[in-house]
């Protein structure tokens, strides 16, 4: 039986190496846990700030960077209450508060002149709510990281072909190649294409769960976020 079958799965047969957010916070938020959190949240926060507050590239980068360096201290994780909202929502709201404070601070600095306030767009023209936008970008980055994990795993375990097939089919834009074409291209039978894809998707699911584990408070939030990711 393939030992890779359920690696990293939240209900997997092999124990997960990841600790939950609460466990990490209780341990004083070790460096690697924080790194993985930022790896997932940096891009979504950046994109969220750009869209929501209409910042240009440089301003958004600065804001994002200062958010992660200053706002994310120990107290931030201690104050998180899993019963009230998901961590994702909690963090998004913190971003909004942070940006609003920066605005106010910037406004105070410009005292004595024409105070130019960038209006916070309460009634955005876009149909999506801020939460939906943030979640979509967050989900995108989650998959990006999981795919990277999968790539690394395949490279380390000699399964490059599996990854190539996965990349050629599942990561391709429309129109997708047929199984037959892929089989011919790689010199393998069509059933292998089916098997490789099934394997890669299974593994991807596990890597997504692993990434999620580090940013959710525990099993309950993990299950809930898993459900949201796949619906």
């Amino acid at each position: 039986m393939d030992p890779d079958t359920a690696i990293g799965g939240p209900h997997g047969h092999l124990p997960s190496t990841q600790v939950s957010l609460l466990e990490a916070a209780a341990a004083g938020m070790p460096h690697d846990a924080l790194e993985r959190l930022i790896a997932l949240y940096w891009k979504p926060v950046y994109r969220f700030i750009r869209f929501r507050f209409r910042k240009d590239n440089e301003d958004a980068k600065d804001l994002t960077q200062s958010f992660f360096t200053s706002a994310l201290e120990r107290e931030f994780f201690a104050r998180f209450d899993p019963a009230k909202a998901s961590f994702r929502t909690y963090l998004r709201m913190a971003v909004e508060r942070f940006a609003a404070n920066q605005h106010a601070a910037a406004g105070r600095q410009k005292r004595g002149g024409d105070v130019q306030f960038e209006p916070l767009d309460e009634h955005s023209a876009a149909a999506e709510s801020p939460d939906a936008i943030f979640e979509r970008e967050w989900r995108r980055q989650l998959f990006v990281l999981a795919i990277e994990d999968l790539r690394a795993h395949c490279a380390a375990s000699g399964k490059e072909q599996q990854f190539r097939i996965f990349e050629a089919y599942d990561l391709a834009g429309a129109p997708r190649p047929s199984y037959a074409a892929l089989a011919a291209e790689h010199g393998i039978p069509e059933t292998s294409v089916t098997n490789h894809l099934a394997w890669a998707r299974r593994m991807l699911r596990g890597f997504v769960a692993e990434r999620l584990r580090g940013v959710t408070s525990g099993e309950r939030e993990l299950r809930e976020e898993m459900r949201r990711v796949w619906t």
């Binding site: 359920a6 209900h11 995108r140 990006v144 990277e148 990561l171 089916t194 099934a198 998707r201």
Partner: protein
């Protein structure tokens, strides 16, 4: 590297599909999504028949073993259970061909047909209660009416995340009496706007906020419905004497007509005599 929206959606869809390659089933299509998991139509290769495959996270499978032991004409039989490679659990069960109760009502069935559905659902509940299983989420979307009139109660034992307003009893934790509440709400749901007040009273009694005020068990509720169908007085409703009279007359119509005929004949003869 970045992912476009379409690739992202594709990945979400593909990796969500359960890998059933190690089983005897072939997925056909997704047919429903509930609080517990996803249900697919599938084909059993060995027996060459269509089945329903319910796939859920392993943690939620706990009570499913109890439910798998239920055997009742109105409870979907479970053929097989197993574990998928990704850790999820699946249940293979009979594929019900029919419509949900809310869609069934769109066909304007008669009152008798509606009550038949309620009674079948109630019988399933009563049976389950004797084995210790509580449904917890009875609602029109969980009742199916088959093409030959079979009634199935589905999705047992899952406490709905939000609960469906109107069908979920106010108390916590949910127990048998919450199922009675839900059955009463179901009865209310199927009653037409001009439904008989006796049945409305039955539904109201089942839905009293205090569980102690409701019917003591499902059987009592069903018995009241049966009384209504036989033209007897319903326990839940204190009927006004006018209505009682009408009901009496309806039940004893033949006798009353015969007596009226007799009286009529006597009267006619009496008056003829005097002419």
């Amino acid at each position: 590297m970045d992912l476009s929206d379409s690739v992202l959606d594709h990945l979400r869809h593909m990796a969500a599909l359960p890998d059933v390659s190690g089983t005897r089933y072939e997925l056909e299509r997704e047919i429903g999504r509930g609080g517990m998991g996803v249900v697919y139509a599938a084909r059993d290769r060995d027996l060459d028949r269509r089945v329903a495959l319910k796939v859920m996270e392993a943690e939620l499978a706990g009570e499913a073993r109890l439910i798998a032991r239920l055997e009742h004409p109105s409870i979907v039989p479970i053929h097989e259970t197993g574990r998928l490679p990704d850790g999820r659990v699946f249940y293979a069960m009979k594929l019900v061909v029919g419509v949900r109760l809310d869609h069934y009502l769109a066909r304007s069935p008669s009152l008798a047909e509606r009550l038949r559905v309620i009674r079948r659902a109630g019988e399933a509940l009563a049976y389950a209660h004797t084995t210790g299983v509580i449904h917890r989420d009875l609602k029109p979307q969980n009742v199916m009416v088959g093409e030959f009139g079979e009634v199935y109660v589905m999705d047992w034992g899952v406490e709905a995340v939000a609960g469906t307003p109107g069908f979920r009893a106010p108390e916590t934790p949910l127990d048998r009496r919450s199922d009675i509440y839900a059955l009463g709400a179901l009865l209310e749901f199927v009653l037409p706007a001009d439904g008989p007040p006796a049945l409305r009273a039955v539904a109201a009694k089942a839905r009293r906020p205090d569980p102690a005020d409701r019917y003591p068990d499902v059987g009592a509720l069903l018995a009241d419905i049966e009384r209504f169908q036989e033209g007897l007085a319903v326990e839940a409703w204190a009927e006004p004497w006018r209505h009682r009279l009408v009901r009496f007359a309806a039940r004893n119509a033949v006798l009353l007509w015969l007596l009226a005929a007799y009286a009529g004949v006597k009267l006619v003869l009496f008056f003829l005599r005097n002419l």
